[in-house]
Amino acid sequence: MTLWSVIGSGVAGLAVASDLVARGAQVQVFDPGGPPGPHGCSWWAGGMLAPWCEYENAEEPVLRLGQQAIDWWSDKTPVYRRGTIVVANTRDLPDLRRFARRTAGHVEVDRNKIAELEPDMKAFGRGLFFEQEAHVDPRQALQDLCGQLKDKGVEFHQNLAPPQLDNTIDCRGLHARETLHDLRGVKGEMLVIRCPDVVLTRPVRLLHPRMPLYIVPRGDGIYMLGATMIESEDSSRITARSMLELLSAAYAVNPAFGEAEVLEIGVDLRPAFPDNLPRIRRLGRTIYANGLYRHGYLLAPALARGVADLALENKHSEMVDEDRA
């Protein structure tokens, strides 16, 4: 039986390994960074399964393929099916109208309905509710996938994959750019804060022409604030401006966020191709699966299926853009 070697244990690698195993393949995983942690950009993700919202500024496959994600994750990690609320300050209501026009799957909500959904968002008189959307806790999700793979006999190696390996699947994100020359990094900055004074139970997006923000609840008064999108490949530090913008946007959602403790500052680079859509490429003995951009948790399931189709059945899904086996 063929042994498949998945390189990289971010959300792409683990999802790929998971689908291969589910379809009966034998799999091992290599990641010199060890178990999922701050060394991978999946660690810093929002974990929103929000294909309808994302469609505002993404291509059609994100909407269509992203809708498969909620079911895919449901038997692997807790999926919080509480929808998404999108709001804007009064002066930015044109942005809310545009957002409504460009997306589907939402209902308009007024002050009463918003207060009913999220009592701590009384300040907003108008919004959109995307009832079908969901979210996961990314770190929990990575750990759960690892645990399930180990239970099924998958070995994890904390080292580089030997170069002569056959049947490898390269899911290294931006580290694969020496081969994938059209891959670039898009800087993202995020914060994790603790603010028990504010209770939000579902992801909230605040529209703003310059600094759109989302807040994802992690439970126990912990929230993830994200995320900037900058065409820069410097992942060393957050800038003061980004931090100011993230925090002031959160403050605009509820001034009680002003008292929050800042627990973590995350900075990393999202791997992206020029159209910001993921790709599967077979070059020689290696299949590359990459470019999840800001849609790691949303599109990893579709990416994983595409890889398994190619690896096990030699079928070309729409994500395959090059095959030189």
Partner: protein, 256 residues
């Protein structure tokens, strides 16, 4: 068509490069419009050349690159950013933007004139983002600018030409200076309007990048500036209060 520091542009459309859904769409917007100039911001992507990959994509568009100082609030920041832009893009061109007001992003014209003087003396060819104020325009020319870029309306507002009277006055006051409407354009009709008033080019970003289909909107803008430019050359009729029949009535046979 007037030249911009000696450079003749293929057409009067200049496009920004921020806020597109993806670099692929940005590239197609340039292809579909044939825009001859791309403005690029360095401030945020800047530090240590970390924006190289994106900048290479912009260079590969094969159009004239006009780096900008977007996001700068002081002369010092703007001058440093301009110097960095010269290194990165190997060009003397700089779109000088000095923001004076957080909400309107209105230019701080006092600092603008000062920075324009410093940069011109340093060999830059400055494209200042300014208001429609004639005296400020004059000071910028004195400082060495050979192009003026008055706003149509605040950046990103999509309101069109807010002060047509003042823009007409500006055109009349500086008949030989290349004038570019920069900022505030939302619709092709706004862009055509600017060209009909005799402006030499239109610079826009948000109207295309944030449109539902940036590629089609870029094309629409290109057609609009071309229409406006042709109309200007064709010497439009004057508006009048009463109808003027296109077929003369006098001399027609009476059939009753």
């Amino acid at each position: 068509m007037k030249t911009f520091y000696g450079t003749t542009l293929p057409n009067p459309l200049m496009l920004g490069t921020a806020q597109y859904p993806s670099p692929a769409i940005l590239e197609q917007a340039f292809r579909s419009s044939g825009a001859g100039v791309a403005t690029v911001s360095l401030r945020r992507e800047g530090a240590g050349g970390a924006g190289q990959t994106f900048w290479t994509m912009i260079r590969d568009l094969g159009v004239h690159i006009l780096p900008n100082t977007a996001g700068c609030h002081t002369v010092k920041e703007a001058v440093t950013t301009a110097q960095m832009a010269r290194e990165v893009f190997d060009t003397k061109w700089i779109k000088l933007e000095l923001i004076g007001h957080t909400d309107s992003l209105q230019p701080d014209v006092f600092q603008l004139v000062e920075a324009a003087r410093i940069l011109t003396e340093d060999g830059f060819q400055v494209f200042p983002y300014t208001t429609e104020d004639l005296i400020v325009g004059e000071r910028l020319l004195e400082a060495g600018c050979e192009v003026l870029m008055p706003w149509g309306a605040p950046i990103g507002s999509g309101r069109g030409l807010n002060n047509e009277y003042a823009l007409r006055a500006m055109r009349a006051e500086f008949p030989d200076v290349p004038l570019v409407i920069d900022a505030g354009i939302g619709l092709p009709s706004h862009a055509a309007h600017a060209m009909e008033l005799g402006f030499d080019a239109v610079l826009l970003n948000t109207a295309v990048a944030r449109a539902g289909d940036p590629i089609e909107m870029a094309q629409a803008m290109a057609m609009a500036v071309q229409a406006g430019q042709l109309a200007r050359q064709a010497d439009p009729i004057e508006p009048r209060d009463m109808a003027e029949a296109s077929t003369p009535v006098v001399g027609k046979a009476f059939l009753s």
